[in-house]
Amino acid sequence: MYRYDEFDHQLVGDRVKQFRGQVERRVSGELTEDAFKPLRLMNGVYLQLHAYMLRVAIPYGTLSSKQLRMQAHIARKYDRGYGHFTTRQNIQFNWPALDKIPDLLEELATVEMHAIQTSGNCIRNVTSDQYAAAIDGEVEDPRIISEIIRQWSTFHPEFTYLPRKFKIAVTGHDNDRAAIKLHDIGIVIKQNELGDVGYEIHVGGGQGRTPFIAKKMADFVPKAQLLAYLEAVMRVYNMLGRRDNSYKARIKIMVHETGEVEMRRLIEAEFAKIDASQMLAVPQAEIDRISAYFASPEFETLPATSPALDAAKTQDADFARWVRANVVAHKQDGYAIVNISLKPIGGVPGDATDVQMEAVADLAERYSFDEIRVTHEQNLVLPHIRLDDLKTVYDALNAHELATANLGLISDTIACPGLDYCNLANARSIPLAQEISERFADLDRQYDIGELKIKISGCINACGHHHVGHIGILGVDKKGTEFYQISLGGSADENASIGTITGRAFTEETIVDAIETVVTTYTDMRQTDERFIDTFRRVGLDPFKERLYAE
């Protein structure tokens, strides 16, 4: 994992000091709320329904045990004993007091973390593949270039007051787990015919009010030129992106209105000018320095199978089910990737208590080379677990209600905080996720249904990714009452697609029945081994619509 050096420490320390001064000036009345708001937002401090909310950046979703323990400590000392993992691989605290946030940030800085640029119209936390450096078939660990992008984009003097927020995601694998086509810039690490590593660049994806799949802007940007290319995209956007209407200000709208061809021409013209100076070519020595932090852990040489694991599976059916659902093959023989579901039946998606965070940190320290990952689907990952240790890890997780065997299944729902917490929400999301998981609580039924991703947003900003849910649910407000709209056929992977709205919205009372109708329509129509999304793509919306709106 990357470790701060003196530069990183100094900059984060400077920022905490600066924010402390700003908070003092706000509390003393020297700063109006109008002047203070952009400053607090740049430091991840929002005002929500019940309190302030602090969003802490988890760069590319990687945490050490020490860092996760600090989140537990913050949850206990500054909050109400829990944190919420988000679709941006970040963690949010729902109840911190403004006047204590500078102290909180100071403690956070001791474990090399911060809340910088987790809000505001700037380049946000870079996200990546949660299986980085653990999955087979990766071109390169995406966290190396993600870290370089993190540094380049932090306190960028030119790109901190963009038309709108700007999100970058990176993957090094053909199977996209980072939803890169739904980001302002999505980067796929590629190897060309000559064996050189470079970057395929997608621009203009996003969700919100007007969802778009990103357009491929470049097939192969050589390694040394990536920052120049990114700076070119950013500058074209900063100069020509719309600022007259905040709903039309994201780069996706610019790409759409300008057209893919013209957009590519603009970016390439600017890229040629920037690249000519060679100013942004990162020295090889620095790339090597950063790469060294992501060197492969010292895996033991182990057989590909584990008799201990096989025996445990035979003895414990629940464990066997968990292995089947939540454990993924590792690139190294004798190891596995463990997914920790933060979606217990009836629980709040993405929430973890201080005790749970500490339990996961302990397991990572003992069994996973001190590493934890956060996924954009609001779960955690222990990336490097020996097959022989799986049962021990499972038992420890189970003792903390962290062993729900539902990864990728209907109860593994993404849900934004919704109207229970969020100032922008129109409807609640969490209760719906809870009711759906309770309705489908029977795991055997969930396995029978198979892979089915439900994603719930409490407003059109789409933080719950409803546009790309196999089943998407959008909460809307009609005169102070909550209604829910269903869309079908969305997907966030390498075959990304935007869902189609089924028709009129459902009430709080009828929405879960409607979801069940969608599911039974699918199970009635599916062919052997056909996933929900495949059936939907084969039969289209009509059969679902007929059943949903039959009198």
Binding site: A51, L98, D420, A425, G480
Partner: protein, 110 residues
């Protein structure tokens, strides 16, 4: 700022969040900011609403609260209650965590 009162709203109250910790507060009859909805001063009619809102904005209001606004309340027998789901949740706490927010404080006190 979103609209928190419907056009024909008869009863309204003023709410804001406290500067120091973001706690939801309500403007009372003696121009204090109270933590519970029953302490809120209720305005009857649009003019009374405007007058109530004006009282929430003395020169130094930003030293105490942020973003005060009027919201609609309904008469409920002899009591009042917030009209929208949003304001009901602000007055009580998250519906998914009954152990947190004002609803939990009320439980502890009773």
């Amino acid at each position: 700022m979103a609209q928190h009162s419907s056009k024909g709203a008869r009863f309204q109250a003023v709410t804001a969040n406290r500067l120091s910790d973001g706690e939801v507060v309500y403007l009372t009859a003696d121009n204090q900011w109270a933590e519970t909805f029953p302490a809120a001063d209720i305005a009857d009619g649009p003019e009374a609403g405007d007058a109530l809102m004006a009282r929430a904005l003395p020169a130094d209001f930003e030293l105490h609260v942020l973003e005060p606004y009027l919201f609609e309340v309904l008469q409920d027998g002899t009591d009042y209650k917030p009209a929208s789901v949003r304001e009901i949740i602000r007055a009580a706490g998250p519906t998914v965590r009954l152990d947190l927010g004002k609803q939990a404080d009320a439980k502890r006190e009773s």
